[in-house]
């Protein structure tokens, strides 16, 4: 025999058509016996006047809040009794609201903002060497760019270039020593010219050969030479042409004194040593040749 309490528990399922046969018969029997329960069902089914039916439904399914909430959480379609219950039951209405909020907010928890280096760290860890070197290369380029953006970078660059240029061309050990003759603005630019000044080409060749050998050994004037280089560089840095020239002169003088130091017994010059016009117009290099020639003669 079905009691009203049990009928209330099963009312929802019954109205949703979810009660199987033996129980269904029992429920229908109960509806025939119990007028109150029959009127509840009738008022729900009538769907016309909810004011009576809904409070009743709230009560009848009230003890099944858990069941209603589970059904709501499952997310299926709502039965009439579920709707009625939620309308009347405050905790269940709140449950519905909270559930809706969960649905809305939960997807927002899907992502956690990764820090800026995350992806590049992953890529560094995964990609093969060529990629790594590409990344490193790019990083160096960035560093260089930042370095060049500093205010004094251009001047420092000019200084470095100057020092390199002077070292390459204007010292006795430079790989391109002939360039120093252009630097010192001498009209005599080749060894042929210098040889002709001495008047005796064979002798001049010997002198020059000697100079080249000794020149690499004589380093006592390197300090002065370095000073000349520094002055030239500073002149470039400050845009002071006078200092540039002075430095270049010092470098030239250094070379000149190296050359004038070459006084060997083998060098014997007879007769007039040089073309007078060359002496009048000469720069440092020419003077050097003449010093060598006249020094031995006297």
């Amino acid at each position: 025999m079905m009691t009203c309490d049990r009928f209330h528990d099963r009312l929802d399922a019954y109205l949703a058509g979810g009660v199987a046969e033996p129980e269904r018969a029992e429920i229908e029997q109960h509806l025939e016996d119990c007028g109150e329960c029959a009127s509840v069902v009738a008022s729900v089914l009538a769907d016309g006047e909810p004011s009576i039916a809904f409070p009743v439904l709230a009560r009848t399914t009230g003890r099944s809040c858990g069941r209603v909430q589970d059904a709501i959480a499952e997310g299926g379609p709502w039965s009439a009794t579920m709707t009625a219950h939620v309308d009347e039951c405050e905790p269940c209405a709140r449950f519905v609201a909270v559930l809706a909020r969960c649905d809305r907010v939960l997807p927002q928890l899907a992502a956690v903002e990764a820090d800026a280096d995350f992806a590049s760290d992953v890529i560094m860890a995964t990609l093969s060497r060529p990629k790594l070197s590409r990344v490193a290369w790019r990083r160096w380029l960035d560093r260089l760019e930042r370095w060049l953006e500093r205010p004094r970078a251009a001047q420092e660059f000019a200084y470095a270039i100057t020092v390199i240029a002077v070292l390459l061309t204007a010292t006795p050990m430079s790989p391109f020593p002939q360039v120093s003759t252009w630097l010192s603005a001498s009209p005599l630019t080749t060894s042929r010219d210098r040889a002709s000044i001495a008047g005796d080409e064979a002798l001049a060749d010997r002198v020059i050969g000697e100079i080249q050998i000794r020149g690499t050994r004589l380093v006592r004037d390197l300090d002065r030479l370095g000073q000349g280089i520094a002055t030239t560089g500073a002149g470039f840095l400050t845009g002071d042409p006078e200092r540039v020239h002075r430095g270049a002169d010092e470098v030239g003088c250094g070379l000149q004194s190296l050359w004038s130091g070459v006084r060997t017994p083998e060098v014997e010059v007879e007769g007039p040593c040089a073309d007078p016009s060359a002496v009048q117009t000469g720069g440092g290099t020419k003077t050097a040749c003449i010093v060598i020639a006249t020094g031995e003669r006297t």
Binding site: C102, E113, F118, A119, V122, A125, L127
Partner: protein, 205 residues
């Protein structure tokens, strides 16, 4: 739905390019999914630094497995599966070999502290903070299915597949988990209200 399909197609193209050795595609893939992987991992691994390490390991594993991965349309579930496995591996390693100094690292889901200033209180009152805390209070079984299904938006059959359970079980577990979460949120709200109504001497810490 159209949009979703387009997304899937685009990701599949990206994955295909990765498999062909396109490094830019790989970079894009990492950037595209880094937040999501980190998000999933951080539900398993509490400390932020550990979560970052684990997420990186996820991508390294993905990169190594890409040559053998052929079903490009199913990339996202595959990625999430690797993320989950890696995170669980990590927590197991951690459990087997706890750190020498057991200082709980900064919690990503910042929990309530006894004496918060108003700004923090506002922060905690925010919906996300509330939900994070509610998630933390759910049972781990329910939390996991919530994270996969509701947070990451995986389909029910994908979740069932991933967890190795029948889809019916997954469905009912997801429903129970949703209910539990909603109840935890309500409980947290009630606690909040009680705390705001009046400080009880010698009350909750």
């Amino acid at each position: 739905m159209q949009n979703h399909d387009q997304d899937t197609q685009e990701i599949a193209r990206l994955v295909r390019r990765c498999r062909e050795g396109d490094e830019l595609a790989w970079e894009e893939l990492v950037r595209r999914f880094q937040n999501r992987v980190l998000g999933l991992v951080s539900h398993y691994v509490r400390s932020r630094e550990d979560a970052r390490d684990v997420a990186q390991e996820v991508f390294i594993r993905v990169f190594r497995s890409l040559p053998n991965f052929e079903n490009e349309e199913r990339f996202v579930p595959w990625l999430l599966r690797i993320a989950r496995t890696t995170a669980i591996d990590h927590t197991r390693r951690r459990a087997a070999r706890p750190p020498a100094q057991d200082v709980p690292a900064e919690d990503m889901h910042a929990l309530a502290d006894p004496n918060p200033d108003p700004a923090e209180r506002t922060e905690r009152a925010s919906e996300r903070g509330m939900l994070r805390r509610a998630l933390d209070r759910c049972s781990s079984l329910h939390r996991e299915i919530l994270v996969l299904r509701e947070v990451q938006g995986m389909a029910l059959n994908e979740v069932a597949d991933l967890l190795g359970i029948p889809s019916g079980t997954a469905k009912s577990r997801a429903a129970r988990a949703r209910a539990e979460l909603a109840r935890e949120v309500m409980a947290l709200e009630d606690e909040e209200v009680r705390r705001l109504e009046g400080p009880q001497p010698g009350g909750a810490s």
